[in-house]
Symmetry: C2
Subunit: 891 residues, 2 copies
């Protein structure tokens, strides 16, 4: 069977979306359902593809169009070219994928000098001239390529001349005059007039729509969205119906349910005596659907009945465009409707309750991004608020607090009972205590994966980064925005981490009821939204095989993670207990300054912290990662020490301790610390650090066991590149463990965070009992990009130039980094079939990446505690069978 | 057929090395050739493997040994256990691979109280007691496990008591006494005596050799050398012959040719009335083989005849151990002999000339490491010279010069006509001019792949790095070594880059005749060594398909590379013309300070440099790589600027220019510049730099074409990670080229130096016409190791701990980095079959890596000019067929 070039609506259905485009397929489906759709037909994407190949309309098309037009005439009772009752049609593009702003449309095709009086008989002369004006304008632009501005200028001139506030106030004579002027423009610019033969207009409009597929704007859009160039567009030719022929006419847009809250009642707007675009552009006050019910009860009843038909048929929220001409209702378009995150959950759960869809389908129709947006507090009312400064939305949430320009000030403010907002050029590990003390963090530099952003997300703090032009003079206790506004220390600001905006003063914060419900557990009085979310999360938990753990290194985080459903800790970073004030302990070990005391203190701190965390996670695995950060994070800043030394020199002061420290820091200074002495390398040079931590862990386990608890620690080695490194580290771990608890052993695993580790994973798996993919570092080395540095320099240019469309530090780069992960999984399992596999980078909380990890058969992902529900949901979705996901294509 | 457990020499041959071990197989081969080998047999590795499996000698072995001993008795005319004419045997291990120091030996097996008089009849009582003493000692240690020191002490006591200078001066009575004492030690330590049954001694010795295979020392050695544990060792049982029975006896070691020079005459040493070990341990003055010819012409004639037989048979240099007992010559061992690099070339060429081997075989028998060692000057005489300091041999050669502690001093010294040696803590791009001016570079820090090492090798300068403990006080014009010796500026030192040693004063330098010949071309009067090298290089050129290009960015380097046989420039680094004094130009472009002038100057410099290089390489490809280094290499040092600013502050001085510069450098400062704004990323942010360089290249080409020359430039984009980056860079290149020469186009390629580039090589090949593997950077990111930093911190510990046995920056890491190269080659060719493929990292000059690249089918390697001959040789060797390489196994 050859693929049809043209199909009347009555012969198509919703499944033929590739051939008819989205709009045409849905028009056919509605026709098939017996809904009142104006008669019409679709010229298929096949015809477009042939047109694109040969640059001519297929030779058989004219006869097919002729036959279809005759059928249209029969169905409508009007005749193409009739001077008394002319048939007019709209010609619109409509492809497989929606391409907003790319759509080419010519309305009122069939109107000529000869047929104009017939149209005037239907709705009056002003209506008729307005229709004619639109046809000449659209034909001129779309078919003949006249610049749109040429017509806009003339309309604008006419409005000015006549003092009309908008086009609707232009009288018939002015519109008649505009038609004349427009036709003169056509003659001047193209040497042509509007064809006075309806069929010539129609054929030209069809060709123009096809040609528009290869226009620059369309090509750029497709390249950006990844829509293949060979698909082509369909063209829908539909009888024109008019909502602007009088008070018994009108146009509206409505939804089968509330797309904002999800509540189960039709929702929409109606505008009497108007065309569809008037409803959308907001130039006139619309009436809610209920009011239509009062004014036109029969019309309202019909419309609601049709909406019910559509929702039961499509088994989802639908939106509909409709027009009423002289009391008769026409449906012009439908599609599965867009909705807010809250509505998505509520509609999915309700449709499942109503038996329209399965719970699996309901789960597939919500996603982690939607859930995440429901978990953060919001500002209650931002209308009319002008932001003080804008940056990147680095960690969502809404926070109000007093400005502090350094970590110490933030800690002090918290101690005074205030809620601080830490404002810095950028943050470093030194700022950790200040960040913990703060409600929000704002930085002038750094991107979505800067230190500030990553740590804030991990801590669940609101964060805005990359506030361009912000100059901070912390010594003067003030900052200045790019446009010269001054912020002083102690001033109250409101930070919106969801939009990246910072406001002066305290805005009202509305906490997230969903987050509260997830943290606090079941509540029989909960709102329908909370019930929908918890219900779908429960279903996701039942479905998923991928376990969800949390990255947590404090007792509080561990408890929160557990309440949010974490099934263990996949990453407990030991460095967190050694940054801030305790940083000096590592410095003393490395620089050999009262070393044994420092080691003893490191062990004591670790024993206390490990005991708390293991107690909080009793019965669940806790993966402790040995010290990982670049060495310089533990050492004093070289530039600062050098400046101090210069000042001492000028003052002829001597300080041997500081001089020695400067010399030592110079000696240990690295040009590229990220590629330097860190992770297993540091542990090989200073194995005492491993032994201290592992011994503490063993003692913590022993103490908790003595209490009758069930602690389940594991140890993980970071930054491994060779088998020998891992073997040596494993020997140090074994030795430390034996000293702490000779009666048991400890599972040892490795991070896979260097390309080489992935490439030799079979060898590593001979020593490692589990792998954990550290996809942040793996992305850094696979791309050769330091996330600390890149945001401020070239990543902005890369986004501007379209070199990067997604951030590889946010969503796993499947082609590059993902290939290495896949390789490591295969190699690792080939040498140890029981190998445990997890992921603990930033990506472990990212929906798309979770699906990738689930597809590889990983055992768990480990993300920051606030993202645990998101990961649970997406892990559940990833486990659905292909069939359950099929519905997604129609959305 | 079951594998034999025992084989008499007469039944084996050289091919049975797996079963008989190297020594046994060669003894069998000599026997087969009719050479005078004492009769004997080999207990095979199969017997050893069965012994290792079951911990018992195979049950059928005793009968086989009995039969073999009877055969030995027949052949020797002596009887095992005879009191009048006893047969004695040696029992020695001998595996597939030589394991020096692992060998277990028991001599004189068969000697007992009863057979001793029979042996005394053969060589006197002193001789007999000495043999007995050795048996008890070796049996006690090897079989019974008595500590060797126990015997050494007793001998030492005896020497002291009798005032004997060595064992040879101990009289028979002392030896008799020692036998008694030794047997008392056996009794005390083990409760056993030397068995008085010869066969019991023999079986015990065989078992002890087998057991020694699993001794700690042997296992460690095998693990280090990668020798499989399951191979097992063979045991050779050979009739004892004695070179110490009088003046008509003696022992010697000789070679079929001179192993030092390769000249074609037998070469060796003889020691009358001595055993083999006396020849080797140097305790007595040996006589050269010629002198033996004068003293014992018949013996000498026989020996030379045997040597000729061996060399013709083995088709290679052989070494031989021999013993003369009472005028009768015995050959005890032979193997293909070790030789110096010069001898390797000369012998291979001579054997091919003599028709003993093919030229292909000759080529296979030499290698790039040998050639490289022949290309550098050496110090004439180092005997008795004590080094001032020792570091890593970073770039070979011998250089004498005056010490300069900074680049400016080195440049000034050169301007005064002196030859400077630059001594620095470490070098940076700022030191380039100083390095060019210097004969040698010595650094306290940095390893074999530090900036100093890499640049020095590229420039062909002698270099020693990582001189531990060297403290340089450049302000005081002096340095101090770890042991407190002071070196002052201007002092003359001699630097040996081949050994890593630095000497005080001027040593005699002997230039390399081979290097001179290769640079200057054919010389009919050349030495045999030069003729051998040039002949084999010519053959390598004829054989190889892998082309050899050079990394060169100056006209001089290009000309040198061409003289040394380079077939183009595979890497012309544009940054080299912008470091040193011109660094400021890039700084001005980036910091936007008189930017247009700076760009114009950059273009003018490039036009001049490109024109020179293209002219020097007329007719050959020149691949120009766009600006690559980390940005900080072009900007002033942050620490230095900050210190200056602190001093200004203290002096209440103001300098707005410097303050602005400090602020700008702080803004552009990167924590990890290697992973920051560099390569294509910088070019995307500042495309004017691309345009300036490419336009200059186009103009250079046009100018040379106008002269009738044939310039062949290509352009290469560094640090690409995504398709879009490369496409954008290609557009900038095209634009720049069009401005410079609209009549032609330029081939554009990309570096593959990030893991992601290798993983998406199929996409990159759609834009890139060629790939060049930058294996330095690829190793850095694949391993997550910065070569600048690692040497000083953990790499030393890694070598000490055995974590790294080879340096991945020297020899390509085939498992990790090599896998990425392989992937990129496959993917790249899959999308562009005509894709050009080259390698231009440090590895391109490393022999093992060249074979890897050749195996992947790369088109070319590109190395520093001095390494071009090495690469030509190895590329030729890599092209040989498997059969030609087979001979390698016997060496």
């Amino acid at each position: 069977m050859t693929t049809p070039l043209l199909l009347p609506f009555a012969l198509g259905d919703a499944s033929m979306v590739d051939l008819l485009g989205g709009k045409g397929a849905n028009l056919a489906e509605m026709t098939r359902l017996g809904l009142p759709v104006p008669p019409g037909f679709t010229i298929t994407t096949e015809a477009c593809r042939r047109f694109l190949d040969t640059e001519e309309l297929p030779p058989e098309l004219p006869d097919l169009v002729s036959a279809a037009v005759i059928q249209l005439e029969t169905q409508s009772g009007r005749t193409f070219g009739s001077t008394t009752n002319p048939l007019l049609v709209s010609v619109r593009s409509g492809g497989r994928f929606s391409m907003p702003g790319m759509m080419e449309t010519v309305l009122n095709v069939g109107l000529t000098d000869a047929t104009l009086p017939g149209l005037a008989a239907r709705g009056g002369w002003r209506f008729a001239w307005d229709c004619y004006r639109r046809l000449v304008q659209m034909y001129g632009h779309t078919v003949l390529g006249v610049e749109a501005g040429r017509f806009d200028e003339l309309i604008s001139d006419a409005r000015t001349r006549l003092g009309a506030v908008d086009d609707a106030h232009l009288p018939a004579t002015a519109l008649e005059d505009l038609v004349r002027q427009f036709r003169r423009v056509l003659a001047e610019d193209t040497g042509q007039d509007l064809p006075q033969e309806p069929r010539v207009q129609l054929d030209a409009a069809i060709g123009a729509v096809f040609r528009s597929w290869n226009g620059d704007r369309a090509k750029t859009y497709r390249a950006h969205e990844g829509i293949p160039d060979h698909l082509g567009t369909a063209v829908n030719v539909v009888e024109m119906v008019f909502g602007n022929t009088g008070h018994r006419s009108g146009s509206g847009v409505c939804f089968t349910r509330n797309p904002s809250t999800g509540s189960a009642a039709a929702y929409g707007d109606y505008l009497p005596d108007a065309q569809g675009e008037d409803v959308v552009n907001g130039s006139r006050e619309t009436m809610p659907l209920d009011e239509l019910g009062t004014r036109e009860p029969e019309l309202h009843r019909q419309l609601l009945a049709h909406l019910t038909t559509l929702e039961r048929h499509y088994r989802d929220l639908c939106d509909v465009e409709f027009t009423v001409e002289d009391g008769r209702l026409w449906l012009l378009q439908t599609r599965v409707g867009k909705r807010s995150p809250a509505a998505a959950f509520r509609i999915a759960a309700d449709l499942a309750d109503e038996g329209l869809i399965t719970v699996d389908e309901a789960l597939w129709r919500v996603d982690g991004h939607q859930l995440e947006s429901l978990l953060h507090p919001r500002f209650a009312d931002l209308d009319g608020q002008r932001p003080l400064a804008t940056g990147l939305p680095a960690s969502p949430g809404a926070a109000v607090g007093v400005v502090a320009f350094d970590a110490a000030a933030a800690v002090a403010a918290r101690a005074r009972g205030q809620a601080p907002v830490l404002v810095r050029m950028e943050t470093s590990p030194d700022d950790l205590a200040g960040m913990i003390a703060s409600e929000a963090v704002v930085t002038a530099r750094g991107g979505l994966t800067s230190h500030a952003a990553v740590v804030a997300r991990g801590l669940g703090r609101t964060c805005v980064t990359s506030v361009g032009g912000l100059v901070i003079e912390s010594a003067a206790f003030r900052a200045t925005t790019a446009d010269g506004q001054v912020i002083v220390a102690g001033e109250v600001v409101s930070v919106d981490g969801t939009t990246g905006r910072v406001y002066r003063g305290a805005l009202d914060v509305r906490p997230s009821p969903v987050a509260r419900a997830l943290e606090d557990g079941a509540d029989p009085e909960a709102s329908p939204l909370v019930l929908a979310v918890t219900g779908l999360l429960r279903h996701a938990d039942a479905r998923r095989t991928l376990r969800v753990r949390a990255n947590a290194e404090t007792e509080g985080d561990a408890r929160l993670a557990r309440r949010l459903g974490a099934e263990g800790i996949g990453l407990c970073r030991t460095e967190h207990m050694l940054l801030g004030a305790r940083r000096e302990l590592v410095e003393r070990v490395v620089l050999d300054d009262r070393r044994d005391d420092a080691l003893a203190e490191i062990e004591a701190v670790a024993l206390d912290e490990f005991t708390r965390i293991l107690r909080a996670m009793d019965g669940l695995p806790v993966v402790v990662r040995l010290l990982d950060p670049p060495l310089h994070e533990f050492l004093p800043d070289l530039v600062g020490l050098a400046i101090d030394a210069a000042h001492r020199e000028d003052r002829h002061e001597h300080d041997e301790t500081q001089d020695a420290k400067l010399a030592a820091v110079r000696r240990w200074h690295e040009t590229n610390p990220m590629l330097g002495l860190r992770g297993v390398r540091l542990l090989t040079v200073v194995p005492e650090l491993v032994v201290a931590h592992v011994r503490a862990l063993a003692r913590a386990q022993a103490a908790l066991r003595a209490e009758g608890l069930d602690p389940r620690p594991e140890v993980m080695v970071p930054l491994v590149a060779t088998e020998s490194e891992l073997e040596l580290a494993a020997r140090h771990i074994e030795a430390g463990w034996r000293e702490g608890d000779p009666t048991t052993t400890i599972p040892v695993g490795t991070m896979i965070e260097l390309p080489r580790a992935a490439l030799i994973a079979d060898s590593l798996a001979r020593t490692a009992e589990f792998f954990s993919f550290g996809t942040n570092d793996l992305t850094q080395t696979t791309w050769g990009v330091s996330r600390d540095d890149a945001e401020g320099s070239f990543l902005a240019a890369y986004r501007r130039e379209g070199i990067l469309t997604t951030d590889p530090f946010t969503t796993l780069d499947e082609r590059g980094v993902g290939q290495l992960v896949r390789t490591a999984v295969q190699l690792g399992r080939s040498s140890r079939p029981t190998l445990g596999l997890g992921a603990c980078g930033e990506h472990a909380g990212d929906p798309a990446s979770i699906h990738f990890f689930a597809g590889l058969g990983l055992d768990y992902v480990s993300c920051s505690p606030p993202r645990v529900p998101v990961a649970r949901l997406e892990a559940g979705r990833a486990a659905l069978h292909h069939d359950d996901k099929a519905g997604a294509d129609t959305r």
